[in-house]
Amino acid sequence: MSEVIVVTSGKGGVGKTTVTANIGCGLAMLGYKVVLIDADTGLRNLDVVLGMENRIVFDLTDVIEEKCRLRQALIKDRRIEELFLLPTAQTKDKSAVTAKDMQDVCGQLREHFDYVIIDSPAGIEQGFQSAVAGAEKAIVVTAAEVAAVRDADRVVGLLDSLAEIRDPKLIINRLRVHMVQRGDMMSLEDMHDILGLELLGVIPDDESVVVATNRGEPVVTSENSISGRAFKNIVRRMLGESVPLMNLDHREGVFNRLRKIIGLG
């Protein structure tokens, strides 16, 4: 039984590529066969986030133009067994991949993999429409900010009308815990109230994500970061486990003790 999942957001820069790479690695680390498709033709990133940028020979558009076989365009991860990337072209534009192309490619890949995960481009135009065409499930990534949530809501509507994806799951990325605490950032409850989507998880804003991306080794592969643990929890929830949300608040200082003493903690 395989799943084809698109990771999308509407707004750019909220963490689609980061999420795709990390849940892909996380699932493969547990032994599932995973292929990640970069659908951001012309602005590809998934290859660098995964540290595979020097190994691309063929890409998705070569497969579509029948310059190579699908198998030849897949790059195998060096550290994690069963993790593969299907990169896209950097020097073509979104029109190089149609909705029909994505349906064909996803249809073939799902025969061989447990998870096919698609990194969607920002926007809601043709690139996005192709990216969602082959998927049956979706993860919507957003940040706890007005513009990002508004775009996410728009995308939720389009997932329904374009791809008949009815119950996308939500990931809130780059949450700044101290801002939530002082009332300057919407909390998980607020976001759930507004979007009404099932919450798959929350990733804090964490420098380790940037460090990991610098190295080309997704943060979920590291042992000790808080964002890495958040991604591991998300993976377990995707597998059907019920994992409570992590306590992101690590300020066990004077303030918290005071809060408890006067009954706010």
Binding site: E145, V146, R150, D153, G183, D193, I194, L258, R259, I262
Partner: protein
Amino acid sequence: MLDFLARLLGRECPGSKNVAKERLRLVLVHDRADVSPQLLQLLKNDMVEVISKYIEIDEKGLDVTLERDDNQVALVANIPVKKMKRVAGNLA
């Protein structure tokens, strides 16, 4: 003293998140229904014109909004009435 501490430690939310949430709620209702606040204003003007033929209303108290529950959007109008008019002429 306790009050002051509570505020300092963030029980009351004086922050900007409530503003964000309210603005989002409103903008999403309009996005989802594909009706802009501007369009609603035009509708409101027309409603006043039509209704005023029959009923004397308090234009200042007029409130026309879109409201959403789950998957349905409703146009809700709250129209304070001052008095009924003799309408025979208008109906002719």
